[in-house]
Symmetry: C2
Subunit: 402 residues, 2 copies
Amino acid sequence: MFNVDNFLHDEALPASAKWTGFPLYNFIGGHNDEDLIPIEKLEEASKKVILNHGHILGKYNYTGPLGYLPLRKFIIKKLLNGASMKCSEDEILVVSGSLQALDLVNETFLKQGDTVIIEEGSYGGVFSRLEKLGINIKGIPVEDDGMNINLLSECLEELKAINIVPRYVYTIPTIQNPTGTIMSKEKRIKLIELAKKYDVPIFEDDCYADLIWGEERPPSIRALDDSKRVIYCGSFSKSIAPGFRLGYLVADWPILSRVLPYKTDAGTGGLEQMVLSEFCENHFFDHLTKLNQKLKLKAITMCEALDKYFGNTVEYKKPIGGIYVWIKMPDGVDTSKLYNIALQEGVAINPGVEWSMDKKNKQKMRLCFANPTDKSIDEGVKKLAKVCKKEFGVPVSIANIN
Amino acid sequence: MFNVDNFLHDEALPASAKWTGFPLYNFIGGHNDEDLIPIEKLEEASKKVILNHGHILGKYNYTGPLGYLPLRKFIIKKLLNGASMKCSEDEILVVSGSLQALDLVNETFLKQGDTVIIEEGSYGGVFSRLEKLGINIKGIPVEDDGMNINLLSECLEELKAINIVPRYVYTIPTIQNPTGTIMSKEKRIKLIELAKKYDVPIFEDDCYADLIWGEERPPSIRALDDSKRVIYCGSFSKSIAPGFRLGYLVADWPILSRVLPYKTDAGTGGLEQMVLSEFCENHFFDHLTKLNQKLKLKAITMCEALDKYFGNTVEYKKPIGGIYVWIKMPDGVDTSKLYNIALQEGVAINPGVEWSMDKKNKQKMRLCFANPTDKSIDEGVKKLAKVCKKEFGVPVSIANIN
């Protein structure tokens, strides 16, 4: 009988386990509120585009390899409105989710042994990608107003001293993942100045930028840069639905023309692009308002549950947008360990070490609140507190424990 | 100003040119007949799934990382019906087009310097992928009933003599691309025997297998193998629409569990999976019958045009399925050169060298006929003949030339 092990290289990724369903209390993943999927309006949009333009599906990339033109036109409008960024149709590449944007940029610019600079705490999928590629990662701590620019400056200087040019500075400046912070306009400008001084590209990931509650967001870094060095990506996964695998990569044509050849997937889903563009053209901003109202309430539910069941043993900053809260657990708690035992009780959390290059983040964890119901948030956090108390002795007392 | 060239490695792919639209006479690409996109039925399906199950879009991979369960169930039915292959839900991975299947299998099994065996003439995207990865390719000639098994045997023996185990034998056995041949059942069995003897996996690409006109197709190689060494892929791009980016990778769990970790795209398009599964459940086989009737007529149109304008200067085998015809041009014609000059006249062809590892295929070319109208096929082939005559002196005379 065939044995696959004989055909795998040493560096093969470990085997997947069989999927057994989502955990009952699912505080991980970028899932969205299922009640806020705009079903009726998506159906209307779908009907219109299929009946009027369905023949388009007969061709790969009907309006070119950069993606469906009406969707690119909407993205232009949206980026001007939200990120104060002007761009043209040829500067936008529709991708199959922003993860594809990460892969394309990495394929274009990175080679084993290269160095990149990223925020010390960042999206787990960024770490796993860079590690798989054998990239040296330099981490910059994040403050309440974004990346610590002085430490970034030092890092660039140190690398320069040993003749290393980082391939890019990657940042999630607007609702940073996992800290939830927004980089100030001042820091954005300083970041661009540094990038110019050391001649480094900036890779700006604005995936959560649509989910801001109330505050004015600063212009995107790409909008503030006049040296055409910023590669920007965004997504509809968080603003509409992750089931649509649609994101966008934005860059000036000299960059985009070097990234595009790596997109060898024969195009991003045509039906999803058509339906989404039709929906967005008419309802995007209204939908976003509704979604943000609900997410803000869910964040409150999550914070209340944390306060209720963990009391003052946990530290966190109240979210100002996004779908997660970044929590510092008490001394002695190892969230990787907590992850394993909580999962057995049906509670899934993101342990800090996966969202960070700093192993001291064993004390941290990320909890996502967009998908679970209010009831589920309350019950799940309660259960998590019980598990945590049993394993680590904290919190010492839990409200309303039977 | 930023200069991207400073950040690209030597092996970077050449820059993309800006897209300027499809050529007027487009005989390349796997595009489908636009009139046969089942618009009304897709709209019905879409309405039903969005209104009844639209909330599913709120989660990544709602029914697990292998893809939407109802679609996997349909694929099981379809593979049993068409390819005589039994499989279970855990043996099917829905992918974003079968090109993703190629990428995933390559990522899992291949490393620079590895060797694979493929048909000497094969899909251009396979060659470009393998070349990018730095893989040694051994080519096996294809006969009317499929791969030359004796030469395959010799190749395996030669590789063994120098201690090289090929990572897989890749084949498109059913409507081979570009030759349009079907590998006989006898050869499929012999291929499996060889693969067992030399302990090599087989990678069976059945992307065109739904498009057979009249003939009974043999069971898939995977259906005939009892040693669990066949990785199989297929696609809905050709049977429904390429605008749906949906294909499937089929393998026993010990293999699939090693491939799945490389699918880090957070899932294949949810809406497209839902709509397609609903459509297929009710209409797939009827639709296929209609599509094949039309494709068969278009193949006739293409052959008639070739005969009319090229006379007996070209050699080709009449298609028995699929969407292309593989043509041998007269001595002295270089189809790569023809490609460039024909394109300026609005006629796009696939030059043989891109579909082959054999440089003598300069004389060959592939013409696709599914997308262009009958009128366009006739006009385009006429124009191609004129261009060819002007450049290469053949055909000597062309019918109905004004």
